[in-house]
């Protein structure tokens, strides 16, 4: 009797299209995928555990390293969670600046996504176009924080420093330039017959499955479910901004592409509003004893100096309790769950990474497709392994 045998193909961890060190074990029947089994752990950093032995302030830089394409979003998630625990009110300027920068971060992350995703499907030039634009955002990061990727610009209670003088002008240059660039991307891809044939109907998932798999962010919205934490559960004054939530009923790779491209335009809208309405005032909350006083004051005032010294050496002591704060990171719901035992270190920090949840659904997305569809699927769920293995 002839027995049909499947072939096991190992994709990764050193593979050009797995975005970092994802390893996918594929069981193939010819070129059809019978099973896709993602294996993670090749980029394990132990950030959650490390956080348990760091002062709250000193956890912020490690959060940068999780989703290294969206550092500011991670910072924001952590800061908001701790601020919630502390019950600190954030001054409007800091909130607006945070919105502005996290939306730029969303652009940054989506630009890398569109570039690498298109590269995987064979449109090589897109990568360089997207990275050319991303460079401008990295320049803004450098302007505000001195760092291009691991910015660590947000602090508990606000920002690390005041926004630089030419911040406004530099970001406005981006706003001027980007819409026409996005048009170019869409010219290259949206109606390209090859692009459409590679993405439409590929890696489909039903809205019910998407919900039960815990999809969030653009992936969920590409299943026609209008859920966005910025609207559903606003944080950092998002309720004061006017923007739309793009959705699409396609449930496939193409729908995810369309949703993300529209999201990029919405982000520009939010950034513009944040710049136009940027309030004056403090960039960090004034809450003696829990929030680090601005450095200028610490150098001039006795009390500020004392608090500065105490917070740096002793850390802060949030009340006993636990807190969960989810934010809409570029990839979906990024949640920080922090348990405090009243000491200077978090008793437990748990991160709900969107990438991890989406990776888990890879089998569902790839089953029945071809090997080439696996690539498209991995590209479309837009995962960052630093976040999966945090």
């Amino acid at each position: 009797m002839i027995e049909a045998r499947t072939m096991t193909l190992n994709m990764g961890p050193q593979h050009p299209a797995t975005h970092g060190v994802l390893r996918v074990q594929l069981e193939l029947d010819g070129e059809t995928v019978v099973r896709a089994y993602p294996i993670i752990g090749y980029l394990h950093t132990g950030i959650e555990k490390t956080a348990e032995s760091k002062h709250y302030y000193k956890v912020i830089p490690t959060t940068d390293r999780m989703d290294y394409l969206a550092p500011m979003s991670n910072n924001l998630g952590f800061c908001l969670a701790v601020e919630k625990l502390l019950g600190v009110e954030i001054p409007p300027k800091a909130q607006w600046a945070r919105v502005c920068l996290t939306e730029l971060t969303r652009l940054n992350s989506h630009l890398v996504w569109i570039g690498t995703h298109a590269l995987d499907i064979g449109a090589m030039s897109m990568l360089l176009y997207a990275f050319r634009e991303r460079e401008k955002i990295l320049a803004v990061y450098e302007l505000v924080s001195g760092q291009r990727m691991m910015s660590t610009y947000f602090r508990l209670g606000g920002l690390a420093e005041d926004l630089p003088a030419d911040f406004d002008q530099r970001v406005r240059e981006i706003l001027e330039e980007f819409p026409s660039k996005f048009d170019e991307y869409e010219d290259l891809l949206t109606n390209n017959p090859i692009w459409r044939s590679r993405t439409i109907g590929v890696a489909k998932i039903s809205p019910e499955d998407a919900l039960s798999c815990g999809f969030t962010g653009p992936l969920l919205r590409a299943c026609g479910i209008k859920h966005d934490l910025r609207k559903a559960n606003p944080y950092s004054s998002y309720e004061k901004f006017d923007f739309d939530i793009p959705t699409n009923d396609g449930c496939d790779v193409y729908a995810r592409y369309l949703v993300k491209v529209q999201e990029m335009r919405q982000s520009l809208r939010i950034v513009r509003q944040a710049l136009d309405g940027m309030p004056d005032g403090d960039y960090r909350a004034n809450a003696p004893g829990v929030i680090l006083p601005p450095k200028e004051r610490a150098l001039k005032e006795m009390e500020a100096l004392i608090f500065h010294f105490k917070i740096i050496t002793e850390g802060i002591h949030p009340p006993v309790g636990e807190v969960y704060q989810g934010i809409e990171s570029p990839k979906g719901e990024l949640g920080f769950y922090i348990v405090s035992d009243g000491g200077p270190y978090p008793y437990r920090m748990r991160v709900r990474p969107p990438s991890f949840v989406h990776t888990a659904a890879l089998d569902k997305l790839c089953k029945g497709g071809l090997v080439a569809d696996v690539i498209a699927a991995i590209g479309s769920i837009d995962i960052v392994l630093g976040e999966v293995d945090r």
Binding site: M7, L9, H15, P16, A17, E31, A118, L119, D120, I121, G122, A123, M124, S125, L128, Y129, R132, L188, L189, N192, I194, W195, S197, R198, L370, V371, A372, D373, V374, I375
Partner: protein
């Protein structure tokens, strides 16, 4: 047969071979430069002015790389696969006329290495051999990526050869000859070019030719995002270099054949024939690179269904319509 004839032929062979190989080397430079331009980069700049010496540097690098033969490969087949790829790629240029016949010392020489009566058949036969090298490389490497790449590419090349053959049949019908020199002569000047008399055949031919040479957007066998590098994943050093050169030699050959079959060969005003020939071939190469810089890659099943369900019927109908008008 006399000595002068032999010597002249030998000079021709060496000259054509040298031009072809230099062409291959500079194709890589041109490709990198043009793609860089498309992608708003500079491309190679360091080796020589505008990176003009880059191909030389690349070649030296490839020659001095360690030639790794992985364990468990079928050594004999693994070793000859690059040759089986390289040799046919360079052979088919032999029947392409690149200029009018010239008279030297009272004798007339055709500017073609071999004025073969069945030139087109020869080209089809030789280019088909290239498939074997890919199967051999894919099979002998003992790697799943190579195997999948090799299988894909052989299936692809065989399917597209049919469409290509049918497109060429149209040219044969129009010209009534299998001889490439005759075909060029029949087309004569601008208006007689077969690309104008039967554009469908040209489009079918060119699409098939791109697929046949495994170039973007049909570069599935070496789809690096899926199969790492396809059939030559396990190859290194000059063995890899041979696959590489063969790919470019195939592109140049396709350009040369397309020029001969559809664009009047070396015909053109003002400039000498050889220059016209080179310009036309170069234009095809630029087109290749342009496609690579712009288009995503088709999926394997789409590629096959496009070949069998779209191109083949078009080619068949085109042959029948042309035959109806010619007869």
């Amino acid at each position: 047969m006399d000595w002068t004839f032999l010597i002249v032929k030998l000079i021709q062979v060496i000259a054509v071979f040298a031009v072809l190989l230099t062409g291959c080397a500079y194709m890589t430079w041109l490709e990198r430069k043009l793609v860089a331009r498309i992608q708003s980069r500079l491309g190679p700049m360091n080796a020589g002015y505008q990176g003009l010496l880059q191909p030389v540097a690349d070649m030296i690098k490839l020659l001095f790389k360690e030639d790794i033969t992985p364990k468990h490969v079928d050594k004999f087949i693994y070793g000859i696969a690059p040759l089986a790829s390289f040799i046919p790629a360079t052979l088919s240029i032999a029947v392409v006329p690149f200029g009018d016949s010239i008279t030297l010392f009272g004798r007339t020489y055709d500017l073609v290495i071999s004025n073969l009566n069945v030139g087109i058949l020869y080209v089809l036969a030789i280019t088909s051999i290239g498939v074997y090298s890919i199967i051999m490389a894919g099979y002998s490497s003992n790697s799943k990526y190579s195997l999948l790449g090799g299988l894909r590419s052989s299936a692809q090349m065989i399917s597209y050869e049919i469409g290509m053959g049918l497109a060429i049949v149209v040219v044969i019908l129009l010209s009534g000859s299998l001889n490439l020199v005759d075909i060029v002569d029949k087309q004569g000047s601008f208006v007689g070019w077969y690309v104008f008399r039967n554009p469908v055949a040209f489009v079918v031919y060119f699409i098939c030719a791109v697929a046949e040479t495994n170039r973007s957007p049909f570069d599935l066998p070496e789809a690096e995002s899926e199969l790492v590098a396809g059939y030559h994943t396990e190859y290194s050093s000059m063995k890899f270099g041979m696959f590489f050169v063969a790919e470019y030699a195939n592109m140049i050959t396709v350009g040369a054949i397309a020029t001969t079959l559809f664009f009047g060969g070396w015909h053109g005003p003002f400039l000498p024939p050889i220059v016209w020939f080179l310009i036309k071939v170069a234009a095809f190469q630029v087109f290749y690179i342009w496609a690579r810089g712009t288009l995503p890659r088709l999926r394997y099943d789409q590629l096959m269904s496009f070949g069998w369900k779209v191109l083949l019927p078009i080619a068949v109908i085109n042959v029948m319509v042309t035959a109806f008008f010619v007869l």
